[in-house]
């Protein structure tokens, strides 16, 4: 169980894809849902969104950025290795509906999270424009898959190495000036989601974002993942992870994500040392 059946490195090895054996989960999962994985008994419980599922093959796909000890530990797992624990599908699925014109905005590994949602929105009959951003073109992932899942695709790079020179928010702004958009989906780093939501709020365009607070159980029993949405506290693992971008307190989320900064550094360094 939870055996890795395929592995790929993306964005110069900073982002890893794993395809994992999980027949039950692959049958149940819907776009927007996540799983929790543990590399071994001593490992953290790490939430990752399913980037894809293949019920016939009985597999799910996760795509994650290597940021700390746990994801570094995951990176060191090879095809044939097993995760100690794999739990899911968790969280509420994305509400997919035909609304008309949709803009999907993705950045970093948020693109992996965005992919199944984009595809489902297109399949539901929406006209989908996608804007992807990265620091530099070499770090952009899933360009071809996202092109296939959208009607129109824009690429933005901070350094101008490809496509528009600048942030995704610039392109989003232009589109909103020119056309009437019915829905915006923004998934990526917190500042990206925050500024997309600010722009769409001015134009009153419904917007949802996918939040990634620190989690433990992922089933609503600990409250670690609480986020403020419209002034009330929600548990992202069961009430989300998707929320109305106009109501989310992004600043609080960003602060809470830094809860364990010191410990995380210590943990990663110890891991690097033990592997050196």
């Amino acid at each position: 169980m939870a055996k890795i059946t395929a592995r790929e490195e993306m964005a110069q090895g900073t982002i890893i894809l794993n395809e994992i054996e999980a027949p039950r989960i692959s049958r149940k999962a819907k776009p927007g849902q996540f799983v929790i994985l543990q590399a071994d008994e001593k490992g953290e419980r790490v939430p990752l969104t399913m980037a894809d599922t293949n019920p016939e093959k009985g597999t799910i796909t996760i795509i994650y950025m290597v940021v700390g000890k746990s994801t570094a530990r995951f990176r060191d797992l090879n095809v044939g290795d097993e995760y100690f624990a794999l739990i899911g599908p968790l969280g509420k699925p994305t509400h997919i509906e035909k609304v008309g014109k949709v803009v999907c905005v993705g950045g970093g590994t948020g693109i992996a999270v965005l992919h199944p949602i984009t595809r489902a929105l297109k399949d539901a009959g929406n006209e989908v424009t996608t804007i992807l951003g990265s620091r530099t073109y070499d770090l952009l992932i899933m360009e071809e898959k996202m092109r296939a899942a959208s009607h129109t695709l824009h690429i933005c790079t901070d350094d101008g190495s490809h496509g528009h020179h600048g942030f995704v928010t610039n392109v989003l702004k232009d589109i909103l000036e020119k056309e009437k958009i019915d829905l915006v989906v923004a998934i990526g780093p917190i500042p990206m989601m925050k500024f997309c939501s600010l722009i769409t709020k001015e134009k009153n365009v419904p917007t949802f974002v996918s939040l990634n607070p620190i989690m433990v159980d992922g089933t609503g029993m600990c409250g670690c993942c609480r986020v403020s949405v419209g002034g009330t506290t929600k548990f992202a693992c069961v009430d989300g992870p998707e929320f109305d971008g106009h109501k989310v307190d992004f600043d609080e989320l960003a602060k809470r994500l830094a809860s364990y900064l010191e410990d995380e550094k210590k943990s990663l360094e110890a891991y690097k040392k033990s592997n050196a």
Binding site: R24, I25, K28, Q38, E41, K42, G43, E44, R45, K69, S70, R73, F84, A85, L86, I87, G88, P89, L90, V216, D217, T219, G220, M221, C222, G223, C224, R226, V227, S228, T233, V238, E252, K255, R256, A258, S259, Y260, D263, E264, K266, S267, A270
Partner: protein
């Protein structure tokens, strides 16, 4: 054993020294020696109509097992215990004995009651360490399959009973380890995890299948379990939804629910970070809100994680504190401070969103409320500040709706608890039983086990005779 009974004083449990143990996670009480146990057993009057048994929610044959200990027949004692109680090593440690068996013991009228809990623990520990390790024989296979959802004391009891009766049992557990609150909530220093693991291993030896990392309601629904060939289902998912106080600043870094604080520490072994990967904040000045067992566990955990000061802030007075007497006593010995008749009103943080303190209001006791306890009322203008960098909110928990949302045909109370028949545990859905905290709201280990036993009997009737 009837002679010279009152002359023997109640045994004193050997314990780790408070100043040492407040900084380690090893068990606090060290257990009785056989000599101590036999001597304590001699204090029991072997009552014809034992009041103690009436005080025990599962009617353990208390004089029966004590007389076996007295006559040096320790395996006889454990067999007696097992007749009514599947987890005596656990109950001996965590039952609120003063409100149950020991609270009713006749010796306690004039003297200290017989130490029933200590003796129960002694017999169970003796068996675990010195016994044969043999598990009871199971009846001939009935061919019926039962799904037990949740591996807390309630689910474990159902599983054990139904295995004995010859049914095939699979336990589905959301976490990666079986045991429920016994592994994720109650800390190592009060209930060593090795004990829970050995109980679970015994069930597996008897044939139980345990599917961990399996969230019923998410990974599979109850109807799908029936479609997969299960004949009956028991729901023992506990009361896993933390209550917060909805005060300003409650999402500051450093404010935990007790569930999160204890899960990180116990289940994820945060106290062994960085050997284990999950971090846990080590507060210098810690405040725990609430005064039940959960609050005491949180406070004593904080002390063991290196706190300089730990305060339990509670809005009522000492008499109303719901924790076991022994826990309060141990907490005090470990230099936990009690700030009574005090209620928090808001939390303060710094620019990084980290907790720096809280504001409290003094309370005084007014008229009795619905629970019969005098209602605490705020004293106007009594606001004061407590500096702290860690707060653990332990003011209770509610029913987690994850499973019940996925099964709308199970009737619930207004609070989201499952309605189970008080005698049989039957729910409104055919073939589905429920018990433990998900039915009663947060209660006790022994009540969860009692509910499990009752349901197992009813499920057995259903599986062999029909609904």
């Amino acid at each position: 054993m009837a002679e010279n009974k009152e002359k023997v004083p109640r045994v004193k449990m050997p314990e780790q020294d408070p100043d040492v143990r407040r900084r380690n996670f090893e068990e606090v009480p060290l257990g009785l020696t056989p000599e101590m146990a036999i001597k304590e057993a001699s204090r029991c009057l072997q009552c014809k109509k034992p009041a103690c048994v009436e005080g025990c929610p599962v009617s353990v044959d208390i004089p029966g097992f004590i007389s076996k200990i007295f006559s040096n027949d320790f395996s006889g004692a454990i067999s007696k215990l097992w007749e009514r109680n599947a987890l005596p090593a656990v109950c001996g440690r965590v039952c609120p004995q003063e409100a149950q068996c020991e609270g009713r013991c006749i010796v306690g009228k004039k003297d200290a009651p017989v130490a029933i809990g200590y003796l129960e623990r002694f017999a169970a520990d003796y068996e675990r360490k010195k016994g044969t390790g043999e598990v009871p024989a199971v009846a001939a296979k009935t061919g019926k399959k039962v799904a037990v959802i949740g591996s807390g004391p309630s689910g474990l009891t159902v599983a054990g009973d139904l295995l004995l009766k010859g049914h095939e049992v699979t336990i589905f557990e959301a976490f990666h380890k079986a045991g429920g609150v016994l592994v994720y909530g109650i800390p190592e220093f009060r209930l060593p995890k090795e004990i829970v693991a050995s109980e679970v291993a015994a069930l597996e030896k008897m044939g139980a299948k345990i599917e961990t990392n399996f969230v019923v309601g998410a990974s599979v629904t109850i109807d799908e379990l029936f479609a997969e060939g299960y004949d009956a289902v028991y729901i023992g998912v506990g009361a896993g939804l933390p209550r917060f106080m909805n005060l300003p600043g409650e999402n500051l870094i450093g404010i935990y629910s007790a569930n999160e604080y204890l899960t990180r520490t116990n289940l994820m072994k945060g106290y062994l970070f960085p050997e284990y990967d999950t971090p846990i904040a080590r507060g210098k000045n810690v405040v725990v809100l609430g005064a039940g067992n959960v609050a005491m566990d949180s406070a004593r955990t904080a002390m063991r994680l290196g706190a300089e000061s730990v305060k339990v802030v509670y809005r009522r007075s000492r008499e109303e504190m719901p924790a076991r007497t022994e826990e309060l006593h141990h907490a005090e010995e470990e230099k936990i401070e009690f700030v009574l008749l005090t209620n928090p009103t808001q939390f303060f943080g710094d620019a990084n969103g980290r907790l720096t303190g809280m504001e409290c209001l003094k309370m005084e006791l007014g008229e009795p409320d619905a629970s019969g306890r005098r209602r605490p009322v705020p004293v106007e203008g009594s606001e004061f500040r407590i500096d702290c960098d860690l707060v653990v909110v332990s003011v209770g928990s509610n029913a987690n709706p994850l499973l019940t949302n996925s099964t709308p045909d199970i009737a619930l109370t207004r609070w989201g608890n499952i309605i189970g028949d008080p005698v049989t545990g039957k729910t409104s859905k055919r073939g589905v039983w429920a018990g433990g905290d998900i039915v009663t709201g947060a209660a006790t280990v022994i009540l969860a086990m009692g509910a499990g036993r009752a349901a197992a009997n009813s499920m057995h009737d259903y599986l062999t005779l029909g609904w």
